[in-house]
């Protein structure tokens, strides 16, 4: 086409669309070289259409353990059916790819992807290989994780279906009820009136005996626990209304006043709002309900009979087993190094960014990462008994013990119910001696007009609206009560590594000595570090490549573990050595020196850089009258440097805190929120009033946290806090509306100025005002 559109380059990069399917490209997939794809599915498909062959999976996992008989028994996959959680599924292209699995892999019977949960259900024929299917899924670009079909999930599904059935029955009945109600209100006459009234009653029965059962159950439960809940006045309303309606069925003079329609509508609306809240809540949960990935799924275990290493599922590891851990792999169990030398990244447990050297005899922990050499490890403890396993246990305990904060709606409902009941009794006492039927009418008008419908719906709806708006800004909020809790927070603890900082090595400064040729020195450094997998080397290579340094061919490159790299470039001998300089200088964690024929020609300083935007976020939080603290497992100097960089006062820095210490600090201040991402934060996240997990962190934090950020860093935090405060303000605004309306209505009903019919018309009007006010919501999240 000859038509060209004037496209603003900046706008395109800010709002990039997937080359393959045209949907928006998420933040974490932007910025790469070449064309942007929204997900791995699109990228794979586009490549296949161009005739490229499928790439090999990148994780290096061979999934052989999936066909292990022990593993299949453990995962209930004896019949060849298993659920995989797939990383990175996103759009139609992904559905297409996964659904085509049976054609791509012989032996796979069926494959179906549930996009909302990112879970694929795969069935293989007897003798078919799950490992083959998993390998193919990974080559499509979706890393699979086997999911144990948890009872909890099944139960949740059943519960959802049951609630939906109740809702459907209520909806069908209410719609039919409406037909008769209109006929009755518009004056159906004597004969048809009685007939329609009985027909209404027939349609009302399923509502009162089936759909409304959850309200009775929760009322019963809360009365037994001597608590008041919003369901108590609802049930009283239903009971009184039903009794009065049935009474009037037999009094043809009052046949219009049978209330079945308004009561049915009430039950339907309440069920609908609860079902919606539940689904939204589960959706944000299931996106965060990622498989437990702190430990790898498999490891290479020594089979004593053959003397060879074979992959096995981590669950099958026992004390005394020997495993082989290659560079870049995560330890699967706590154990002792038998052979090999390497460096280990322990950030998961300690928050330390500096690698730790290990040798035969050293103790290594599950969840930490082997950085450079091959290690043979004897397993001491595995599974739940490992240090990481115990931390996970702490998380679960903290989450279970979290004191329930009575939410505002329940507190207000308590007083509201008492007030209405007392008023009702007084009305009855006052009117009964004059006219018993009139007295009942006035009481009924009172109960209908003060129906807590609006009260019960306003808080969940306002929170729901905020939840979905927050999700658009990349913040997944776990439940509707989170906003209320967040609005009362007065202190925020921020983790350092990975939260305020980028959490990985980066070059802070590359200083070339005066008199040396910068291009030659940098080229030599690039040549030497090119082949190494060490994180320091990778950071230096990334930095130099970004600078556009030309590589000079090197010969005789030799890497000595723990010492450095040597090589000959352009006839000169270069060597890289770690400097023993004190590491306390600001962000710098370690320094590397480059020697040319034993003369120092350059110094590279590496460290964990503070994220862009962190300082602005901290300033905004302080502006919101929050007490911002830094809570880090790293050493005091590093923590203080990061605090200074983002503007946290030195007296608010807590350094060198172990996961246990962090838990204690957070517990000591009950009104605090915790923001972190590592596994070392998860216990503290669960114990805090509100835990915020920042992207890039371990998935275990998501189980513990209330909020999960899709974008890395703390940049979205001020918006979340402002949004939470506005949500609560909206809820109170609604309570205000509701109170004014109820006061006027109740006064009219008690004094006999309002008929039940007028009350039934007014009730939905007030509900609508409050719903509209809730949906409008606050400004910050819009």
């Amino acid at each position: 086409m000859a038509l060209t559109l004037p496209i603003d380059a900046a706008a395109v990069s800010a709002d990039a669309l997937c080359v393959h399917c045209g949907t928006a490209v998420p933040e974490h997939r932007k910025g790469g070289p070449g064309e942007a794809y929204c997900c791995a599915g699109c990228e794979t498909l586009a490549a296949v259409f161009r005739g490229a062959s499928l790439p090999k999976g990148t994780s290096g996992e061979d999934y052989a353990y999936l066909d292990d008989a022990d593993f299949r028994r453990l995962y209930g996959a004896n019949d060849g059916a298993i659920d995989f959680y797939l990383e990175g599924v996103h759009c139609s292209a992904c559905v297409w790819l996964v659904d085509r699995l049976p054609q791509a892999v012989p032996g796979v019977k069926s494959a179906a992807l549930d996009l909302s949960r990112s879970v694929a259900h795969i069935t293989v024929a007897p003798g078919g290989s799950l490992a083959e299917a998993a390998r193919r899924l990974e080559s499509f670009g979706f890393r699979p994780h086997a999911v144990k079909d948890g009872d909890a999930e099944l139960l949740q599904k059943k519960e959802n279906r049951k609630l939906l059935t109740r809702l459907g029955v209520a909806a069908a009945s209410v719609m039919n009820l409406m037909l008769f109600a209109i006929a009755l209100y518009s004056g159906a006459g004597q004969e048809w009136g009685v007939y329609f009234a009985w027909a209404s009653f027939a349609f009302y029965l399923p509502i009162v005996f089936y759909s409304a059962v959850p309200f009775y159950a929760s009322t019963f439960a809360s009365l037994r626990a001597r608590r008041m809940s919003i369901d108590v006045p609802i049930v009283i309303g239903i009971a009184v209304g039903t009794a009065l309606g049935v009474r009037n069925l037999f009094h043809p003079g009052q046949i219009e006043e049978i209330y079945f329609d308004s009561l049915g509508t009430l039950v339907f609306l309440l069920l609908a709002s609860r079902y919606l809240v539940r689904r939204a809540q589960q959706k944000s949960l299931s996106s965060a309900q990622v498989v437990f990935r702190m430990m790898p799924a498999s490891c290479r275990r020594l089979v004593p009979e053959t003397g060879r290493y074979q992959t096995a599922a981590v669950e099958l590891l026992r004390a005394g087993d020997r495993v082989e851990v290659r560079a870049g792999e995560t330890f699967a169990a706590d154990g002792t190094v038998l052979a090999g030398e390497s460096e280990v990244n322990t950030a998961v447990l300690s928050g330390e960014t500096r690698p730790e050297a290990v040798a035969p005899g050293s103790v290594v922990f599950a969840g930490t990462v082997n950085l450079s050499g091959v290690l043979h490890v004897q397993v001491d403890t595995s599974g739940a008994a490992t240090r990481v396993g115990r931390i996970v246990k702490m998380v679960q305990d903290a989450a279970a013990r979290r004191t329930p904060i009575a939410n505002a709606a329940d507190r207000i409902a308590f007083w509201f119910t008492f007030a209405v009941l007392a008023l009702g009794a007084l009305t009855l006492l006052y009117w009964w001696p004059k006219d018993s039927s009139l007295a009942l009418n006035h009481v009924m008008a009172l109960f209908i007009v003060t129906c807590p419908c609006a009260l019960a719906m306003s808080a969940p709806v306002a929170s729901l609206v905020s939840m979905s708006r927050a999700a658009k800004h990349g913040m997944l909020v776990k439940g509707p009560d989170v906003f209320e809790k967040l609005a009362t927070v007065d202190r925020i603890y921020l983790d350092k590594t990975g939260t305020l900082t980028e959490g990985e090595f980066g070059v802070v400064a590359f200083t070339v000595a005066p008199g040396a040729d910068a291009a030659a020195v940098k080229g030599a450094a690039l040549a030497l570090e090119r082949g190494s997998t060490h994180p320091i080397a990778r950071a230096i290579v990334a930095h130099l490549m970004a600078e556009g340094v030309c590589e000079i061919p090197a010969v005789d490159v030799r890497e000595t573990l723990g010492a450095g790299v040597d090589g000959v470039v352009a006839g000169r001998r270069y060597s890289l050595r770690r400097l023993d300089a004190p590491a306390a200088a600001g962000e710098v964690v370690t320094s590397i020196a480059l020697y040319e024929d034993n003369r120092q020609v350059a110094v590279v300083r590496l460290g964990d850089r503070v994220r862009a935007g962190a300082a602005e976020a901290v300033a905004a939080l302080r502006g919101a009258k929050l007490d911002v603290h830094l809570l880090s497992g790293d050493n005091a100097a590093a923590a203080r440097a990061a605090a200074a960089a983002v503007g946290i006062a030195p007296e608010n820095v807590h350094a060198g805190a172990s996961p246990e210490d962090k838990l204690a600090v957070v517990k000591a201040h009950p009104g605090a929120a915790m923001v972190g991402d590592g596994a070392n934060d998860s216990a503290a996240l669960a114990a805090a009033r509100v835990g915020v997990a920042v992207h890039g962190g371990m998935e275990v934090s998501l189980r513990a946290a209330d909020v999960y950020f899709l974008k890395p860093g703390v940049g979205a935090l001020p918006r979340l806090v402002a949004g939470a405060r506005e949500t609560v303000a909206v809820i109170y605004r609604n309570f205000g509306f509701s109170l004014v309306y109820n006061l006027i209505g109740a006064a009219a009903a008690v004094t006999g100025h309002m008929s039940p019919l007028a009350a039934a018309v007014l009730m939905p009007i007030s509900s609508f005002t409050i719903l509209a006010s809730s949906v409008r919501g606050g400004r910050s999240l819009r």
Partner: protein, 56 residues
């Protein structure tokens, strides 16, 4: 108007039938996943053209 005596119970039966169908669909898991079918409808039924998904 007397036809109402016949039509009304009929409508009741009809509504009951709809509700039974709805309940069966619910128990079959029709509403468990509301996102994927919206994507699946876009896909062609036929085999992929030369979509050779095997390694070459």
């Amino acid at each position: 108007m007397n036809v109402l005596y016949f039509i009304l119970p009929l409508s009741f039966l009809f509504a009951a039938g709809c509700v039974i169908v709805f309940i069966r669909a619910t128990l079959d898991g029709q509403w468990d996943d509301l996102d994927t079918p919206a994507h699946r409808i876009l896909l062609d039924d036929s085999e992929p053209p030369q979509g050779d998904l095997h390694d070459r």
